[in-house]
Symmetry: C2
Subunit: 295 residues, 2 copies
């Protein structure tokens, strides 16, 4: 059996802190230094970020959409980025928000979490709208290969109000989901840590909801978007974390724009100056989060 994702992730988080670096090559924010955005240039840009992050942070979260824009060469770039990051010791949480039934879900699981996955990732974000049974093929594949999944639970955007926050029999849907995901998460439990690699996506913009999710799902790691450019601070981002050995832990906090498009880097005239800007932004976010988890 492969080593559980939860253990692999938390080992790194305990060493480097909970920052996850989002790799979102927005075409409209792409720095001129790397030329026009394309499948090739976004891979070069991402390589530079991976180099700045390797040995410094636990994980990266590439956003599939910004690679899919470029079609099959973009997917090749995504495969390159995942491989380069994993070879550099970074865990990869692929943000592709897949979800479907039966053999189709199995297809997505094979593509990203399979033993010989074409685009091998350590975890994959999954959308649960089609129901709980649709998670099973992802969980099975992940459990077998020491991978994880991160299920959308309470996202960081206003639209969370339309379905996720609605009350059913006196309980909000995201809370019903959190309880169900917690049960299914038993299959992805760590051995060296008490955590489950069935991560729940819980936006930093809703700290109170994150605390509720933590109560409903005490051992599920959280994947927290919305920190930084989306407006939430470090304290809000770790609202669902709990004390372990004198520190708060319980998941990873993603930062994309604030860390990969900092102004100092965007206007840099050389790759070295650009990379220094990225390193500085990573350090700044890490210090900010470190203060919050040292609380």
């Amino acid at each position: 059996m492969a080593r559980p994702f939860a253990d692999r992730l938390m080992e790194k988080v305990r060493e480097f802190g909970p920052l996850c670096v989002g790799i979102d090559p927005h075409p409209h924010m792409f720095p001129k230094l790397f030329g026009n955005p394309s499948a090739g240039s976004i891979a070069v840009w991402a390589d530079g970020i991976i180099e700045a992050a390797a040995g410094k942070v636990a994980c990266i979260k590439p956003q599939a959409a910004f690679f899919e824009i470029w079609g099959s060469p973009g997917m090749a770039a995504l495969e390159h980025v995942c491989k380069t990051a994993r070879n550099a010791g970074l865990l990869v949480i692929l943000d592709a928000k897949r979800g479907d039934i039966g053999s189709t879900a199995k297809g997505y699981a094979t593509a990203y979490l399979g033993e010989n996955a074409a685009c091998a990732s350590d975890a994959l974000t999954v959308n649960p709208y089609m129901g709980l049974e649709t998670l099973d093929p992802f969980v099975e594949t992940a459990a077998k290969n020491g991978r994880g999944i991160a299920v959308l639970t309470r996202t960081s955007n206003p639209g969370a109000a339309d379905i996720q926050e609605k009350y059913v029999d006196g309980e909000q849907i995201f809370m019903r989901m959190a309880k169900a995901f917690h049960e299914k998460g038993a299959a992805l439990k760590g051995e060296a840590t008490p955590w489950s690699g069935m991560m729940l996506v819980a936006g930093a913009t809703a700290p109170e909801e994150a605390r509720q999710i933590r109560e409903a799902a005490p051992d599920n790691l959280l994947l927290v978007p919305g920190y930084g450019a989306q407006g939430a601070g470090a304290a809000e981002a770790v609202a669902g974390f709990v004390p372990v050995n004198g520190m708060l832990e319980g998941g990873v906090v993603n930062a994309s724009r604030s860390v990969t498009f900092p102004e100092a880097a965007q206007t840099a005239g050389t790759v070295e100056a650009w990379q220094a800007g990225i390193s500085e932004a990573i350090k700044y976010a890490q210090d900010d989060l470190h203060k919050a988890v040292s609380g």
Copy 2:
């Protein structure tokens, strides 16, 4: 302005009937005749189905997962399939169930519905769990380029009970969604037909729910999965259709396994015999659906 998707689709449906041929290259069902499944062989297999379907049916629905299994070469195969089908006059509804916020959703929309989309499709399936605002980038891009979207509303699987069928303030979530999608669908209305290209996915396994959806969303075309191998018959599949010019219409009915993996074709020893089996299965499904819409 590009010609609306709703008009383009219904023109073909009125000529050929509501059958949509699902292109789902399941690796475990792949016919030996085409060799081992791979990015290359599934493209050759799909080409054969497209050739059998061209000039006979309105549209195809490739399932992205079964191409993504093969990584970037699989995405190149999917691009090839979409292009070949569109060049042959078939409309392409890409079943990729994407969904995300803001600029990320815009990325997916650009990738599949954009003017110069890398993988150009006529419509894309979209998952609404993250909320109504997340549909806007898809709708905007689709409206601009004469494309459509197909939003998951009430799917054909048992898991539909976990979120979609739950009651919120006395009304089921799929019905609340159907009403909201109906409103947003105004941006994708046809000109020559009364239909909107904001399609709603409504499983054939739930005909009563399809009728309810039709009441809530009177002008939205339906994308109906679950007919054939998933167990629903033709009458159930067209439950959400309404009389227009003496026939029932209101969307398309997808058939995948029953049409693309019929036993006669699976065991064929030559490409010609295989293709004859596919053509026969298409004809059979068309006749079956024709009876139901001639009601």
